[in-house]
Symmetry: C2
Subunit: 93 residues, 2 copies
């Protein structure tokens, strides 16, 4: 499992960005309005998410639209469940 995904998800601002993008794609500016941080700070968080492949970006004129890489997020969750889900005993449930 990609270490970058864990690091990306470990930050509350980035988790909130992920939640926002679950609603649908949004521009960097629109995302930034949801936070009290400076715009470059959000840009950096977006870049961390991009490096983890959790989001993808696409330029549209002067805007840059970010969208969630749903499968990467779901794969991460599935991986977590597989490793850490269940009781841990051999004789499950």
């Amino acid at each position: 499992m990609n270490e970058n995904v864990f690091k990306a998800m470990a930050d509350p601002t980035r988790r909130k960005i992920i939640e926002l993008l679950k609603e649908g794609p949004k521009t960097a500016g629109e995302i930034a309005t949801h936070f009290s941080h400076a715009q470059p700070t959000i840009s950096r968080h977006l870049n961390v998410l991009k490096n983890a492949n959790l989001v993808a970006d696409q330029r549209n004129g002067t805007y840059i639209i970010y969208r969630l890489n749903t499968t990467v997020l779901q794969d991460w969750l599935a991986w977590l469940l597989e490793r850490f889900g269940g009781s841990g005993n051999d004789d499950e449930e």
Copy 2:
């Protein structure tokens, strides 16, 4: 959701410790043998996990036995699933 759990789970050494403890309680020393890090380094990782309430410790003579706080781990997974699982659309599946 407790921020400490995210930070704790973001480190690969600590995730491996969690996996080891899923097999059953282990002493600090036994845990340390599974890694190539110095023993105090593992002790610090165990302390991070303890602060996140992911593990509990109990002294037994000169040994200290660590065990997994299964419910905390499961609650974290459930929380993740709830926030980030699913497609994100309103008209689910």
